[in-house]
């Protein structure tokens, strides 16, 4: 058997992962010292990769979240509120500070709340955008405060919301400022169960289509939303 053929077989066995012990060590050494051999191995890798060219299967979103959290821990959004009640969440410093800030900017005119108050955070996966949202079911309003990021030059922010299995609808535009206060549209005020909020960047004047057209910075699900009593 020719040397070339023998090398070709070895390169294929290396690409397949069939070599063990000394044979493996020697072949791996050659991928550093022998460009011809390395080229053969890469050639086999390319051919073999077609055996793994399979119909796509979507991975669950949790895989990406965990990946981004692990790689970029400084950009993590703490989804604390998803598991614990708002009053416990309030003890978490940054969230509480931002919430209090929002409430100071827009002090409640009716101190006796009769509906629940929900707080949530919308953050981009890569950590370049972060918003604290407060949904006030007494006033059927949402108050949002940016803590990180902004719309790109010449664009504005737009706030979206939807109930379970419904398409997103616009809650309102957020053309400027760190904080905005928006009245919930009737359909959104009527949502029971999980209310999803999101923020996207859109052309000045808002999305021309009625759905987000620009980058969606992030969304958040607020579970168990109930009405004012």
């Amino acid at each position: 058997m020719s040397k070339v053929h023998e090398d070709d077989m070895l390169a294929a066995e290396l690409a397949l992962g069939l070599l063990e012990g000394d044979a493996l060590t020697e072949a791996q050494r050659r991928t550093v010292t022998d460009p011809e051999f390395t080229k053969r191995m890469h050639g086999w890798e390319a051919h073999l990769a077609n055996m793994a060219d399979l119909p796509p299967v979507n991975a669950p979103a949790s895989v990406k979240r965990a990946l981004m959290t692990d790689l970029f821990p400084d950009a993590v959004k703490p989804p604390l509120w998803q598991r614990i009640g708002i009053w416990q969440a309030l003890t978490g410093g940054a969230l509480a500070a931002a919430l209090l800030f929002a409430l100071m900017v827009f002090p409640m005119q009716q101190p006796q709340s009769t509906g629940p108050l929900y707080t949530a955070e919308i953050a981009s996966e890569i950590g370049d955008f972060r918003v604290v949202a407060v949904v006030d079911k007494t006033r059927e309003e949402v108050i949002l405060t940016r803590t990180i990021g902004a719309a790109p030059e010449g664009r504005i922010l737009q706030v979206w919301a939807h109930g379970p299995n419904e398409p997103a609808q616009s809650v309102g535009l957020w053309p400027e400022g760190e904080t905005v206060r928006l009245a919930l549209p009737a359909e959104i005020a009527a949502v029971r169960g999980t209310l999803t909020l999101g923020v996207s960047e859109e052309p000045i004047g808002g999305s021309p289509t009625g759905s987000p057209t620009g980058r969606v910075f992030g969304t958040v699900d607020i579970p168990n939303v109930q009405n004012a009593i």
Partner: protein, 190 residues
Amino acid sequence: MAEDPTKSQTKEPLERIEALIARVTLDDRSALSELYDLTQAKLFAVSLRVLGERQAAEDAMHDTYVKIWKNADRYQVTGHSPMTWLITIARNTAIDRLRARRSHADVGAYSETLGSSAPTPEQSTLVASDAKRIVQCLDTLPSNRRAAITGAYLDGRSYAELADAAKVPLNTMRTWLRRGLSALRECMEQ
């Protein structure tokens, strides 16, 4: 957040993926995020096929993209098309996990396969069609040789395991497999 020309929607998926890998070498996080979105379904299919079980496949996906993030600078060296490079990393990562699991204990549990969702047109054309030849060539091989090559590549079987499964001596298996590879090489060069 300035406009980024590489985010143009008009680019072919493969060129776009290549541009994103280049940006990942510069530690561009948003490029990794976009690369993930564009390629996750292809790579998850590989992980699932190799590991046969959802949780293990999800764990392997995590490792795969960590490697992509850390080793994107090696992409150019291989001369691979971008999807070949990504699929090879996904396959090798899944095989490593599979072998680690086998060496720990029960081998039996992994054969279950899972249903797949329908491909989107964009995703199903990511890999260059001219290299598809190996798949056709595999079909021309005697079934025992085809099974050996597939068992090694997609199930991470060693020569000893392949020989065991086929109930032949190890040397016979090595001969089968090498003859299979030779025939593949010949077929692909035609």
